[in-house]
């Protein structure tokens, strides 16, 4: 897979759309929550963990995948979902708890499921790792192609599930790519305060698999590393721990004042940097970059309108779907 101009322009488009999604949701989130903040108030209730700053991961990794591949994401799923092509209208409606949402209002923003693009996310830290490995195992038993990719944070690498699943992925050479998104913070706990070694990708050696660390938060570099991991997986060489340095620009969740972050650890916004890079490289012009931004804003406005216009589910629907009929 070569890094073509079309691909790189696509990365900027995806990142812009993901950011437009989060910015629109953040704006809506504060409605009804000022001056008194309460998670449950307003048209977008509950906790909200936004992906601002992590967009290069969604764009770069998803850019290296094909339709057969399967994704599990975590409590901060928006950038992966948007870049994977999860239905934007229905995902927006789900965040607002509407009947037209992907889960008919039963999931909310941490529980995004879109089987049409093999996407699932869930809210318990490291919970998605084992199901991703199981999806890869299923495809092996079904003799069908498919690489599984699980997205987690650097803090999740300290969960017991990480060790259990990585060992089995290594043991059985399963085609599983474990994307550790190192945004430096597990809520208020810095990586240096939680993790015995600097890089979780170094742990790959302990599981007999490949490990790579990308420290640029640039979708070009992320794409190339992901493409190498995908190739290894498809060639039967097993899994990769792909750790990607990234940014968490909107806090752990909305309402996180982030007073614990020292000045020298302030993180850069990757989107203006990438935009400037593409212009510098002659891939796009200023005007084209502006058009990409405008298109993203417009698309998200449409999704938000769809979500706002959609009706709520009836309260009686709470009793549906406990079991498959």
């Amino acid at each position: 897979m070569t890094l073509t101009p079309e691909l790189r322009r696509g990365f900027l488009e995806k990142m812009a759309l993901s950011r437009a999604f989060d910015d629109a949701m953040i704006a809506l989130y504060w409605e009804g929550k000022v001056p008194i903040f309460a998670f449950g108030a307003g048209p977008l209730p509950g906790e909200l963990h936004c992906s601002n700053g992590a967009e290069p991961i969604g764009a770069g990794v998803c850019g290296a995948l094909s339709a057969d591949d399967m994704i599990t994401a975590d409590h901060r799923p928006h950038h992966v979902a948007v870049c994977r092509g999860v239905d934007l209208d229905r995902m927006s409606a789900e965040l607002l708890g509407k009947k037209a949402g992907l889960s008919q209002g039963k999931g909310g923003h941490m529980h995004i499921y879109d089987p049409a693009v093999n996407f699932a996310s869930s809210g318990i830290i490291a919970e998605g790792m084992a199901p991703a490995a199981g999806m890869a195992l299923a495809r092996r038993l079904q003799k069908k192609p498919g690489v599984a990719v699980t997205f987690l944070g650097e803090g999740a690498a300290n969960q017991g599930a990480f060790h259990e699943v990585m060992n089995m992925v290594g043991l059985w050479k399963l085609p599983v790519i474990t994307v550790v998104q190192d945004n430096e913070w597990g809520v208020s706990t810095a990586k240096s305060e939680s993790t015995a070694i600097e890089r979780n990708s170094d742990r790959a050696a302990g599981y007999g698999m490949a490990g790579e660390y990308v420290d640029s938060n640039d979708p070009d570099d992320i794409y190339e590393a992901a493409a190498r991991a995908v190739k290894r997986a498809r060639d039967g060489l097993g899994g990769t721990i792909l750790e990607l340095k990234t940014a968490r620009l909107a806090g752990h969740f909305m309402g996180d004042q982030q007073g614990y972050i020292p000045e020298q650890m302030k993180q850069a916004d990757p989107i203006p940097l990438y935009r400037a890079k593409l212009i510098r490289d002659g891939v796009i012009t200023e005007a084209q970059a502006d058009a990409i931004q405008a298109a993203a804003t417009e698309r998200m406005a449409k999704a938000m309108q769809f979500a706002k216009d959609a009706p709520y589910p009836d309260a009686s629907e709470a009793f549906d779907h406990v079991f498959a009929a």
């Binding site: 399967m70 599990t72 949402g101 992907l102 889960s103 008919q104 209002g105 039963k106 999931g107 529980h111 499921y113 879109d114 089987p115 699932a120 869930s122 809210g123 318990i124 919970e127 790792m129 084992a130 199901p131 991703a132 490995a133 199981g134 999806m135 195992l137 299923a138 495809r139 038993l141 079904q142 599984a148 017991g160 599930a161 259990e164 699943v165 060992n167 089995m168 043991l171 549906d320 779907h321 406990v322 079991f323 498959a324 009929a325």
Partner: protein, 337 residues
């Protein structure tokens, strides 16, 4: 098809799994030692040789990992059958039960199904102490989104396993170790054995089974406590007390009306349960009857359960705290006094 074969629960369950596996590629087995040992109850006995290591997967000692993988495989179109050996081990994989397998269908608004069957052994009575003797069925039955079934005899073991394997949900399939009829638990209990048809058949979930009809007192049990109740009923018959023994068979769904029907007839209720007493099945059964009609009781209902203490090791202590037949019979005599 007909036959006069009398089987143990273990052999009967194995037939159901074998029949389904022969015909359905989506079923595969996973668990510690299943390839060489065939599962805690021999449900997969010989399957390693018959189906090979791809479909009978022995795992590392990593319950969170492999049961979580099973949930993912189920989401991707398979039907995993997992052997978790003892229910005491749910502590090391509880998140998968609590948050993944039981909630994905609901949280996805029905878009994602998780059809998987989790085979687990429960119970004590054989001096295996506090970490290998628990029942804990109330602990799993409390989770919305998981079906929990509990056959107590060979006929139900086979039929309910067929039903579980054809269900599109997460089914926790419990068997009391003492009822299964496995080589390491001594002579099989006679009342666990039954005539088992050769061919496949389903026993639906959510219907109680009246094991023995009676008119004076209803004794409700599940798993091993059904058999202790039957022993108690024999003893009571000698005293002229007619006990009706009702096997719950399934905790989720729970046949509350079936329980009510029996208590309406007898007016007296004893719930026997080898799980801990508080916050459990015994309270739930009594509440179900009270909610329907508290005037049905001629005497206040009685619980004969394991008390709220860890299971002790030494034989005299363990035998004293289990809900065995003499305790059940005593309770019935007091109710009739």
């Amino acid at each position: 098809m007909s036959s006069n074969r009398i089987l143990t629960m273990s052999r009967a369950g194995r037939e159901a799994l074998d029949w389904e596996m022969e015909r359905r590629d989506e079923i595969f087995c996973m668990g510690e030692d299943v390839f060489k040992f065939g599962g805690i109850f021999g449900t997969m006995d010989g399957f390693g040789a018959k189906y090979g290591p791809e479909r009978v997967i022995s795992t590392p000692i990593s319950e969170t990992g492999f049961i979580g993988m099973a949930a993912g495989a189920a989401m991707a179109g398979m039907h995993p059958v997992i052997d978790l050996a003892y229910i005491d081990f749910i502590g090391v994989c509880y998140n998968v039960l609590l948050n993944t397998a039981s909630k994905t269908h609901y949280m996805s608004g029905g878009a994602v199904k998780v059809p998987m069957t989790l085979l687990i052994g429960t119970g004590g009575g054989y001096n295996n102490a506090a970490q290998h003797s628990q029942c804990l069925h109330a602990t799993v039955a409390h989770i919305p989104g998981a079906k929990v079934v509990y056959p107590s005899n060979a006929y139900d073991a086979k039929g309910m396993l067929h039903t579980a394997l054809r269900d599109e949900n997460f089914v926790i399939f419990l068997t009391h170790k003492g009822t299964a009829g496995v080589g390491w638990m001594g002579t099989p209990i006679k009342t666990t054995l039954s005539e088992v048809p050769d061919g496949p058949y389903e026993v639906p979930f959510g219907k109680v089974k009246v094991y023995r009809e009676g008119t004076d007192v209803t004794i409700v049990g599940l798993g091993m406590s059904v058999h202790e109740s039957l022993k108690a009923a024999d003893a009571l018959a000698k005293d002229g007390i007619s006990a009706e023994v009702v096997d719950l068979r399934s905790l989720v769904p729970l046949d509350r009306d079936g329980i009510m029907e029996s208590v309406s007839k007898t007016g007296r209720l004893i719930v026997t349960d080898e799980d801990y007493m508080s916050y459990g099945v015994s309270g739930e059964i009594i509440a179900s009857v009270v909610e329907r009609d508290p005037t049905v009781f001629k005497k206040p209902p009685v619980r004969v359960t394991t008390p709220d203490i860890p299971i002790p090791f030494a034989r005299p202590m363990e035998q004293a705290i289990l809900p065995l037949a003499p305790r059940i019979a005593d309770a019935a005599r007091k109710l009739m006094a």
